[in-house]
C-alpha cells in the first residue's frame, strides 16, 4: 500500500477522476441476434456482456417451477483472460457462484415475475475485461439485456461501487483502488423509487461514515441511470427507424 496515493491533495484519484466521478460508460443493446435479449457495457476498462433467454419453460426438473411466478436463473462467468493473472476456470468457482446468487437476488426484486408463472428467465453475464466494479457492470449490462428481451421490470436496476479513503467517499472504484484494501460498498438501486435491491460491504468501515459512502454510491447509481436511459431511448429510436415508422 506504500507509494500509491489513492486520493491526492488536490482531490484527484489515480486515473485523474474526482472523488464522485464515474468512469466513461458506453453501452449497446441487441448485440446478438439469436438470444432473446443481449447488451454490452463498458465502464472504463471493465467490459461486460449480458445475454437473456426467456421467459421459457423450466429446463431440467419441472419440480423447480414456481406456481405463481417466474424463476430467475443467473450465471456469472468471467473469461480466463479478463484479469491480469490468467484465471483457470471461467465459472463454477465460489466467487462466480456467489455473484450469480447476488445477481439473482437483484433481479428478482426488479423483474415482474408474477406475470410469468411456471416459467424461467435466464440471465447470463460474461465479463470480458475486469478492471474493478465488475458486479456493477454486470448488473447494468443485465438491466439493458432484460429490457432488450422485452421482459417487464419494475424499474431500471443501476449499480455502482463506492469506497472510502482519507475521509472522502469515492464512487466507481477501479481495480487499483479495490486492491488497495479499503472498505468497498456495492449498491444496486431502483432509481425511481430509491429502493435498494442489493447492498454489500467489505472490510471495516466506521458507522459514522456509512451514510456518506451510501449517499455517494446512490448518487453514482442515479448517474448511471441517466446514461442507461439515454442508451435505451437511442436503441428504441434506431429500431423504429429500421422498422420504417
Amino acid at each position: 500500500m506504500a507509494g500509491l496515493e489513492l486520493l491526492s491533495d488536490q482531490g484527484y484519484r489515480v486515473d485523474g477522476r474526482r472523488a464522485g466521478e464515474l468512469r466513461k460508460i458506453q453501452a449497446r443493446m441487441g448485440v446478438f441476434a439469436q438470444a432473446d435479449g443481449s447488451a454490452y457495457i463498458e465502464q472504463g476498462n471493465t467490459k461486460a456482456l449480458a445475454v437473456v433467454y426467456g421467459p421459457h419453460e423450466i429446463r431440467g426438473s419441472r419440480a423447480r417451477a414456481l406456481p405463481d411466478r417466474a424463476l430467475v436463473n443467473c450465471q456469472y462467468s468471467s473469461a480466463t483472460f479478463s484479469t491480469g493473472e490468467r484465471k483457470r476456470r471461467p465459472h463454477g468457482d465460489r466467487k462466480s457462484c456467489e455473484m450469480g446468487l447476488h445477481l439473482r437476488q437483484t433481479f428478482e426484486a426488479a423483474i415482474l415475475t408474477q406475470l410469468h408463472p411456471r416459467s424461467q428467465i435466464d440471465i447470463y453475464v460474461q465479463v470480458l475485461q475486469a478492471d474493478g466494479g465488475t458486479y456493477a457492470a454486470c448488473v447494468n449490462a443485465a438491466t439493458l439485456a432484460v429490457l432488450d428481451a422485452g421482459i417487464p421490470m419494475r424499474d431500471f436496476v443501476c449499480a455502482c461501487s463506492a469506497g472510502f479513503v482519507d475521509g472522502t467517499a469515492l464512487a466507481d472504484l477501479s481495480h487499483v483502488e479495490e486492491a488497495a484494501g479499503g472498505p468497498q460498498l456495492a449498491l444496486a438501486l431502483l432509481p425511481a423509487s430509491g429502493q435498494i435491491a442489493l447492498l454489500e460491504m467489505d472490510a471495516r468501515l466506521h458507522e459514522d461514515h456509512l451514510e456518506q459512502v451510501l449517499e455517494a454510491a446512490a448518487r453514482a447509481s442515479r448517474d448511471v441511470h441517466t446514461v442507461l436511459d439515454r442508451v435505451v431511448r437511442q436503441h428504441v429510436q434506431e429500431a423504429s427507424v429500421l422498422l420504417g415508422d
Binding site: K47, Q75, A79, T80, F81, Q126, L128
Partner: protein, 312 residues
C-alpha cells in the same frame, strides 16, 4: 462507420443479380472480408454458392489485459480469443521449445444448454482439435518461444470464448486463433548470467519493445458438410442440421493439409472424401489470402485506429 457487408441479421436475401455484388470479387472492407466465386445453378438458401463463405468480420486487440486478442463474427457465430504469454518451464521431451495451451469456453450466452458444465464436452472437443492442428513442426516456431533451454520458456495460453453459435464453429475459431496469434506481442527478454552462474531474466523497460510471432504457417480449418450429393463450405445451423457427415480439413496458406477429421453420425464415400479434400485446400488458400491481407491492412492503420469491439 459500418462495413459494407454488415448485413448480419438473418437471413441474407439472394441478391446476386443487378444491385448485388459483382462475382469474382474478394471484397475487403475494413476489418471484414467476403470470399466469392461465380455462382453455379446450385444456390443455397441465402443465395451463396457451395464454396462461398458468409461475410466475416475480424478485429484484433479487443481486450487489453492480453498479449493478443481477436474477435471474429462469421454470420451469427461470434468468437473472442485472448492470448496470454506467461513464463513457464519447457516440457521434458522438448527442452528447447515453448508451447501453446488451448482452452475453449462455450459460454452460456451461446445456448442455455451450455450453462454450468453443459458446454464442457463441446469445449474439450474443440480444444483437442486445435491441439491436433497445431501439433506439427511448422505451424508455429516454438523454438523462438524458448528463453533458456530446460529452464524458461514462453507458454502461450490461447483462450477461446464462444459467445454466439450460428454454425461453422471450427472455421470461425481457427480464423480467430490465427488473428489473435498475429496480434500477439511477446515482451523481449534477456537472460543475464551472474558470476555465481545464477541466471536472471531481464524484461525490457520499454513496454512496446516486443516480439511478434510469425503466423505464415498457422493453419485454418475448413469444414465441408455433406448435404445430399454435394458438399458445402461454411454451413449455417440449418444446413448443419441437414448434413449427416462433415469433413474438417486444416489447411495452411500454402495449401498443406495438417489435419483431416470426419465428424458426424453418417458415413462418407472415399471418393467424396478426396473431392472434399480438394475443395478444402482450394477454399483454404483463398481464405488465408483474404485473412492475411485484412490483418496487414488493420495493422497498417497503427495504434491510433478507432477500436469498435462490441459497440459497433
Amino acid at each position: 462507420m459500418r462495413p459494407a457487408c454488415a448485413a448480419l441479421k438473418p437471413p441474407v436475401q439472394a441478391s446476386l443479380g443487378p444491385g448485388g455484388e459483382h462475382p469474382f470479387k474478394t471484397v475487403c472492407v475494413l476489418g471484414s472480408f467476403r470470399v466469392y466465386k461465380v455462382p453455379s445453378s446450385d444456390l443455397r438458401v441465402d443465395g451463396r454458392g457451395c464454396d462461398d463463405y458468409r461475410c466475416v468480420e475480424v478485429e484484433t486487440d479487443v481486450v487489453s489485459n492480453t498479449s493478443g486478442s481477436a474477435r471474429v463474427k462469421l454470420g451469427h457465430t461470434d468468437i473472442l480469443v485472448g492470448v496470454k504469454a506467461e513464463m513457464g518451464t519447457p516440457k521434458l521431451e522438448k527442452p528447447n521449445e515453448g508451447y501453446l495451451e488451448f482452452f475453449v469456453d462455450c459460454s452460456a450466452s451461446a445456448a442455455p444448454e451450455f450453462e454450468g458444465r453443459g458446454g464442457d464436452d463441446l469445449g474439450t472437443e474443440i480444444a483437442n482439435t486445435l491441439y491436433r492442428i497445431f501439433n506439427n513442426k511448422s505451424s508455429i516456431d516454438l523454438k523462438s518461444l524458448c528463453i533458456s533451454p530446460r529452464e524458461h520458456c514462453w507458454v502461450l495460453y490461447v483462450d477461446v470464448l464462444l459467445l454466439e453459435c450460428g454454425g461453422n464453429l471450427f472455421d470461425a475459431i481457427s480464423i480467430a486463433v490465427k488473428a489473435a496469434l498475429f496480434n500477439t506481442r511477446i515482451p523481449r527478454v534477456r537472460v543475464l548470467e551472474d558470476e555465481e552462474g545464477s541466471k536472471d531474466i531481464e524484461l525490457s523497460d520499454d513496454p512496446y519493445d516486443c516480439v511478434q510471432l510469425s503466423v505464415e504457417n498457422v493453419p485454418c480449418i475448413v469444414t465441408l458438410c455433406k448435404i445430399g450429393y454435394r458438399h458445402v463450405v461454411d454451413a449455417t445451423l440449418q444446413e448443419e442440421a441437414c448434413s449427416l457427415a462433415s469433413l474438417l480439413v486444416s489447411v495452411t496458406s500454402k495449401g498443406v493439409v495438417t489435419c483431416v477429421r470426419k465428424v458426424g453420425k453418417g458415413s462418407l464415400d472415399p471418393e467424396s472424401i478426396f473431392e472434399m479434400l480438394e475443395t478444402g485446400k482450394r477454399v483454404g488458400k483463398v481464405l488465408h489470402a483474404s485473412l492475411q491481407s485484412i490483418l496487414h491492412k488493420e495493422e497498417s492503420l497503427g495504434p491510433k485506429r478507432q477500436k469498435v469491439g462490441f459497440l459497433g
